[in-house]
């Protein structure tokens, strides 16, 4: 146990002096909270743009009714110049619209926009909504004038209840937060895993280490814990960033159904502890079999891709938590964190199943690492 600690402390000290390791463990994890923050600010900006900010609309032709409707919807009307194209949306009004309206003849109002541009489409739908509203009001007035109930035009009422409305905009966040956290569990200790095994062999320092009178398993586990601690450090940095978000973002930006309170974030990081052990053991095992630093780096790039496959499945299929799925490491953790972020609870039994399954897998891999350290091929140049 003492030897294990000696190896662990040495590896921590040694790797904390490595800029690459520090970058992966301390800076890369900030990517998650920064991306979440950017998406939230962008979302807020988009909402303000959509509903609150004034929209300049060049108009050709005159109609007091239509102009009033647009002004009420927050549009600033300017005359449409000949050949002008620099606008998100423009409106061309039938020159005889006033006369046609009086005679109850169909008149045309043209909305000019570019559906290839997001800003233009968004502005056009804002103008369309204002004009639709006016058209509906005018139609209703006409029917009432003729003694017809306006209800006759509405055989049934369509009530829209769009379940996806706020969530769909947040889909990126729900998919992104658990995904990047799981990637961090696999990325955080990557360089340490390479440095402590393949690096040690490439430097020719393994042999000297193995002539010290400590059990080889103690050396293996000391190194393994160092890798795990770096992976976990990456997760903690990311978690602190996520919890700090409400303090640095504008208040309204967090008016979204994404649960990012300290308890949820802490629970997620604790849930990922066995997964960081599993990832570290897997990486150490692969790095111990590699010929050198570069070989290990190349092979481990593919190992990092392993959790991406179930993660992509989770994002596409969005399965509900159930026992048949929760024994799959990484996949299960992602499902649970996704649920927690949506403020939905997951049965404690399923969380326990996930923790047990990942822990058992991590222990099996750790045992394989210890066995690998008993093999002379691991440390001979």
């Amino acid at each position: 146990m003492k030897a294990l600690l000696v190896v662990l402390v040495k590896e921590l000290r040694d790797n904390l002096r490595d800029r690459r390791t520090l970058f992966v463990a301390m800076l890369l994890p900030l990517f998650t909270p920064m991306t979440v923050g950017l998406v939230l600010v962008w979302n807020l900006h988009e909402q303000i743009e959509r509903y609150d900010s004034p929209l300049t609309v060049p108009v050709e032709g005159k109609s007091r009714l239509i102009e009033n409707a647009l002004i009420q919807a927050g549009c600033v009307l300017v005359p449409l110049e000949e050949g002008q194209t620099s606008y998100d949306v423009a409106v061309r009004i039938d020159p005889e619209i006033e006369a046609k309206l009086r005679e109850a003849k169909p008149a045309e109002v043209e909305i000019i926009f570019d559906s290839g541009k997001q800003d233009s489409s968004r502005a056009a739908s804002r103008v369309r909504a204002a004009l639709d509203g006016l058209a509906r009001t005018l139609g209703t007035v006409r029917l009432i004038e003729r003694g017809v109930s306006p209800q006759i035009l509405a055989p049934f009422a369509i009530a829209e209840h769009d379940l996806a409305t706020p969530e769909s905009r947040m889909a990126f966040l729900f998919a992104g937060v658990p995904f990047t956290l799981i990637m961090l569990a696999f990325m955080g200790g990557l360089y340490v895993a390479i440095d402590t095994t393949a690096g040690e062999r490439e430097r020719n320092s393994f042999e000297a280490l193995m002539t010290s009178p400590v059990p080889r398993a103690a050396v293996a586990f000391g190194k393994l814990f160092a890798v795990t601690l770096f992976a976990w450090l990456a997760l903690v940095v990311s978690a602190v960033g996520l919890v700090a978000l409400p303090h640095v973002l504008p208040e309204r930006a967090l008016d979204v159904p994404l649960k990012l309170d300290p308890l949820t974030v802490l629970a997620s990081v604790v849930l990922l502890v066995p997964l960081t052990c599993l990832a570290s053991a897997l990486q150490t095992l692969v790095a111990a079999s590699a010929k050198g630093f570069k070989d290990a780096q190349a092979t481990l790039t593919y190992v990092v891709l392993v959790p991406m496959v179930p993660a992509m499945m989770q994002i596409m299929v969005q399965p509900a938590p159930r026992a048949q799925l929760m024994w799959i490491p990484a996949f299960a953790e992602q499902i649970i964190i996704d649920q927690w972020l949506r403020n939905q609870s997951v049965a404690p039994g399923l969380v326990a199943l996930t923790l047990c399954s990942t822990t058992v897998s991590a222990l099996v891999l750790a045992w394989l690492v210890a066995r690998r350290y008993g093999d002379e091929r691991t440390f001979l140049p």
Partner: protein
């Protein structure tokens, strides 16, 4: 004392050590002299418990290297010229790391580190990170970490490889110092001058076997040669 009897070791179809016997006594420098690939490094790796022999026995102070590996490691210091260091750690941190692995207490470790820094004249480099050290400086760190637990037996594999003349002379001085302290020293080398200048007993190894074993004068008189180089060639043959 180190005793090797009937040692054999193969890697796949390659027979690295075919049959090696020798004894290295305390207070003597025993040289394993042989061409590259003769089996010297493999023999030292079996003695240092890194490799397990296929047959025969290797003993350090009567402890079996295979069955009592941990006890053997406590009595053995292994210095290999090719052994790497940790570039981001200082010389002192290397000595302390190995000292702690040997279970030394912090106070004893500090005293031991100061003594090694004296003996190896490394006070000016002791608190520098080893990245950028010269070959000679690296070798000193290597020796200091191998001797931190004050072992009675010291194995040195090609200890002067890559050293300049001054560093080589210093290294020989250090090895003679170990001998005068009564330690059992085994030096593996393919450099004839090294053997002539340093070793009390010479074991000539070729193709995994001992070709001859004796003092310098015994080998010279047995072969009727004037120099160790001539004696070596006449014992192992030109084609080796």
């Amino acid at each position: 004392m180190i005793t090797v009897t009937g040692l054999t070791k193969s890697f796949g179809a390659t027979r690295a050590v075919a049959d090696i016997d020798f004894t290295a006594r305390d207070g003597e420098v025993t040289g394993l002299l042989g061409p590259n690939g003769a089996g010297k490094t493999t023999t030292l790796r079996i003695l240092s418990t890194i490799l397990r022999a296929d047959g025969g026995s290797a003993k350090v102070d009567d402890l079996d290297c295979a069955r009592e590996a941990t006890a053997v490691r406590r009595r053995l210091g292994v210095v290999s010229a090719g052994a790497g260091l940790y570039p981001r750690l200082t010389a002192r941190e290397h000595v302390f790391y190995y000292g702690r692995l040997h279970g030394l207490a912090e106070r004893a470790l500090e005293q031991r580190c100061a003594k090694l820094a004296d003996e190896l004249q490394m006070h000016d480099i002791i608190d520098r990170r080893v990245a950028g050290f010269s070959q000679g400086e690296k070798l000193k760190v290597n020796i200091a970490r191998a001797l931190v637990h004050d072992p009675r037996n010291v194995l040195l594999d090609e200890p002067t490889n890559g050293l300049d003349v001054i560093a080589t002379r210093a290294m020989r001085g250090i090895i003679k110092g170990f001998r005068d302290q009564g330690r059992c020293i085994v030096v593996s080398t393919h450099v004839m001058q090294e053997v002539a200048a340093l070793c009390d007993r010479i074991v000539i190894v070729a193709k995994g076997r001992v070709a001859a074993d004796g003092t310098r004068d015994e080998l010279l008189s047995r072969t009727g040669s004037a120099t160790i180089e001539d004696a070596f060639v006449s014992l192992v043959g030109e084609g080796t």
